[in-house]
């Protein structure tokens, strides 16, 4: 037993309320899950009719009211938490302590929500006690008596509830008369159920040939019967026969929904009609009906529910709803209200919560709107987007398996293939004014050996040639090519001397072939990494034709090559084995941070303002094979360039060419600037007219790409290369603004 439960039981024992303890324990054991379900069920059932009724009744104002109401319902914990605490804080300290003492057991047994409800209710009761002698008398009781009554008349409904009031009055009178509360629960059951039980008994006696007992019994919730029976069996001798009846009668439980059309036949007594009317009168119709009927059965020892009394002739069935009168409704409502707190507090809790919703204060509504409206709008927007995308996806995409099987038979790329590859952005852009028809990408001329004319990163110049006129040396010089180590020498040195590190890390080492993997084995790991990075940079730049054909011819004709030239030759010949070795080396030797910094290096050194198609494809492939993925790559690209990575290029499809944007066209058709200003602007990716603010902004964006932290895991030669390029941007910026960077 939990400590809080022990405390509660101890309190009850001191107050002589074992009967309550039994009832409460039974309810707790059997009704926790059911209570949760019914709370939700009742809440939903209450919400929808209210909203619909509001629409029908008063139009848009009511709609807004319903929306506000639903918002409050959705976020009532926040609203009520603030409301309860603020109200509690407004009371005197002694009153606060007393309320807390009264309600803490509720929190132990039913949770924080019940505690808040208890506090709110007790505060309301105190405020109303000035006008209500019963409540005033309650307040005059000692704490123990209050606690006992609080437990006996649990916070199953608001203080305005007739059931609550009746319970309070009875228990107050009982305490005032010096009676024990010990028998109170069972007496409450009998007292509350007595009028209905008597009437029902008369009805059943009069209609012995057309008994409604089976139908009534059929709606009994067996667990409810058990719950009440546990109380009945407690110690009340006068109720023992009732318990016997309940325990011995086979109860056929049928769906509650059927009870409204259960087909009660023959003459219907007022109580029977009232039972039907009760279904319509209560907001928690099903639960209440069950409770009421349960009480009747328990309270009617003479009920004959034998099978022979069941109705066999369905032709005599009459709709009872037609015969329900207002008096019946009142009677039923009274029965429901009277029996409500007896059978279970879950129904009462539902009513209490709904009552609280109805009595929302403006500040509570504001709180609900403050927290609820933005979230609700976002959720609504997200739902709409999701539905739209799903719908669009269903319309345009075929199942992958179907697509796969079709491709196996007939490999072709249709528009559906584009969509499957998420290339829809590239192909489904609106052919409006923002696009240029039939844009052709201006490729560098055959003699253009630089990656970018303005930056003049020349990867092909030999180290001996030093820096070019623009102040930039080639990557070979930066990476420290000494030129004194030929491939022939290195291969001769390494025959029979395989680097076991490379084998362990997965690089395919084959001494019989002259590939990058076997060649690398002669170098220490750090130098291997440098060469692999160099290879990748050459791969990207040469892959776009950024080389001098004469240099290529010379490299292919030369037998003895420097290390850097050997790397270039593997790249220029597009040797697949070497390319595989390089990628596999990246997978197995570089850690994730180094891979990310290689991407940063490519961003800083090779990509100018926007990735070219070759760069784009390589970046995607490189990110994927190293476990980075398109999403992470896209985020990194956007952080570096302030724009999204373009969709996967599709130069094989004329639609892709038609939909290149103007900016892409501009980038791919470099303007041969004449003035120094134009050249410097082009370095920063700008075109006149441009404001100084835009120059500063562009330079800041570029500077972020050269943050030293982005390359701190790379070698010194790579960082030196990066520094050279950074200085070029700084020079352009200073020329444009006249200010130091």
């Amino acid at each position: 037993m939990r400590p809080d439960e022990t405390c509660r039981q101890e309190t009850c024992r001191q107050l002589g309320c074992e009967a309550f303890a039994g009832l409460s324990a039974s309810q707790t054991a059997t009704g926790t899950l059911r209570r949760s379900f019914r709370l939700a069920q009742t809440g939903v059932a209450a919400l929808y009719p209210r909203a619909r009724q509001a629409v029908a009744a008063e139009g848009q104002n009511r709609i807004m009211s319903a929306v506000v109401f639903m918002l409050i319902v959705g976020f009532h914990p926040v609203a009520f938490a603030q409301s309860a605490s603020s109200l509690l804080a407004s009371l005197p300290e002694s009153a606060q302590e007393e309320i807390k003492k009264l309600c803490l057991p509720t929190q132990f047994s039913d949770g924080a929500a019940a505690y808040r409800a208890c506090v709110t209710e007790d505060i309301a009761r105190r405020q109303a006690s000035n006008d209500n002698p019963t409540l005033a008398a309650f307040d005059a009781l000692s704490f123990d008596d209050k606690l006992a009554i609080q437990q006996l008349c649990p916070a199953v409904s608001s203080t305005s509830s007739a059931a609550h009031q009746a319970c309070l009055a009875e228990q107050i009178n009982r305490v005032s008369a010096g009676e024990s509360l010990n028998e109170a629960p069972t007496r409450t059951i009998v007292a509350a159920a007595l009028p209905a039980a008597t009437a029902t008994e008369d009805s059943f006696t009069a209609d012995t040939n057309q008994s409604t007992a089976p139908q009534v019994a059929s709606v009994i919730d067996s667990s409810q019967v058990e719950s009440v029976a546990s109380v009945v069996q407690d110690d009340s001798a006068e109720l023992a026969p009732l318990a016997t009846i309940v325990d011995t009668q086979p109860v056929a439980v049928t769906p509650l929904a059927d009870t409204n059309n259960s087909g009660l036949t023959g003459d219907v007594s007022p109580t029977q009609r009232a039972s039907i009317a009760a279904n319509d009168a209560s907001s928690s119709a099903q639960n209440t009906q069950t409770n009421t009927t349960t009480t009747r059965v328990i309270s009617s020892p003479q009920i004959d529910v034998s099978p022979e009394n069941q109705v066999a002739d369905s032709d005599t069935t009459t709709p009872l709803a037609d015969s329900v009168t207002s008096a019946d409704t009142e009677l039923a409502t009274t029965i429901v209200a009277t029996t409500e707190p007896v059978v279970g507090n879950e129904t009462g809790n539902s009513v209490s919560m709904l009552d609280q919703f109805s009595n929302l204060q403006p500040d509570q509504i504001r709180t609900g709107l403050l927290y609820g409206a933005p979230i609700l709008l976002l959720a609504l927007l997200a739902t709409l987007v999701s539905v739209f995308r799903k719908r669009q996806s269903r319309e345009t995409m075929m199942p992958f398996s179907q697509e796969q099987s079709r491709l196996d038979d007939d490999v072709r790329f249709s528009d559906q293939r584009f969509e499957q590859f998420d290339d829809t952005d590239a192909l489904q852009l609106d052919l409006g004014e923002d696009t240029i028809d039939d844009v052709t990408l201006q490729q560098p001329s055959a003699g253009d050996v630089s990656i970018d004319e303005s930056i003049q990163i020349d990867l092909d110049e030999l180290p001996a040639q030093g820096e070019d006129p623009s102040g930039f040396t080639d990557i070979s010089a930066t990476l420290g090519d000494t030129g004194d180590n030929t491939v022939g020498d290195t291969l001769g040195d390494t025959i029979g001397d395989i680097d076991t590190n490379l084998i362990e890390t997965g690089v395919l080492v084959d001494q019989d072939r002259n590939t990058l993997g076997s060649w690398l084995t002669q170098f220490p790991t750090d130098q291997q990494k440098e060469y692999i990075i160099e290879y990748l940079l050459y791969w990207i730049s040469y892959g776009e034709g950024q080389f001098d054909p004469s240099m290529k011819a010379e490299l292919l004709a030369t037998e003895e090559l420097s290390n850097h030239d050997q790397i270039k030759r593997w790249v220029l010949t597009q040797d697949g084995e070497s390319f595989t070795d390089a990628l596999r080396f990246c997978q197995t030797t570089f850690d994730s941070t180094e891979i990310e910094q290689i991407l940063n290096l490519i961003f800083a050194v090779l990509v100018k303002h926007q990735a070219t198609p070759t760069q784009n494809v390589f970046l995607r492939f490189f990110a994927d094979i190293n476990g980075i993925g398109a999403t992470s790559l896209g985020l990194r690209y956007e952080r570096a360039f302030g724009k999204q990575l373009p969709p996967m290029p599709r130069p094989d499809n004329i639609k892709w060419w038609h939909k290149l944007t103007e900016s892409e066209s501009h980038y791919r058709n470099p303007v041969h600037n004449n003035s120094e200003r134009d050249q410097n602007l082009d370095v920063l990716g700008l075109v006149d007219p441009v404001a100084d603010k835009a120059v500063i902004s562009a330079f800041e964006q570029i500077s972020d790409r050269f943050d030293p932290e982005l390359f701190d895991q790379l070698g010194e030669k790579e960082r030196a290369l990066i520094d050279r390029h950074r200085k070029h941007y700084i020079s352009a910026y200073q020329s444009l603004t006249g200010e130091p960077a």
């Binding site: 590859f421 052709t440 094979i625």
Partner: protein, 88 residues
């Protein structure tokens, strides 16, 4: 990406004349492919860009089977993109 050279049974370095002849010969067999390939391969600039990507995809298709598959996060459906280059 489509591998037009493979479909036309040509080498990537094929001359414009060879390409024109191959397109004409394939017109009857696969008119849809010819319709798609003609504006790409007949335009020098478009063909150059296509050739760069063609070389990239050929290298990727060659490398893919030999890479460490457990490291690959195939967010770009490379198996499908490279299917026409696997036999190059």
């Amino acid at each position: 990406m489509r591998n037009y050279y493979s479909a036309l049974e040509l080498a990537p370095a094929a001359s414009n004349h060879d390409i024109e002849e191959a397109l004409v010969e394939s017109q009857a067999a696969d008119p849809e492919m010819v319709e798609e390939a003609t504006p790409i391969l007949s335009d020098p600039d478009k063909r150059q860009t296509y050739d760069y990507l063609h070389a990239q995809f050929s290298a990727y298709a060659h490398a893919m089977p030999n890479l460490v598959s457990s490291k690959i996060l195939d967010t770009n459906h490379w198996d499908q993109r490279l299917v026409e280059f696997s036999n190059d």
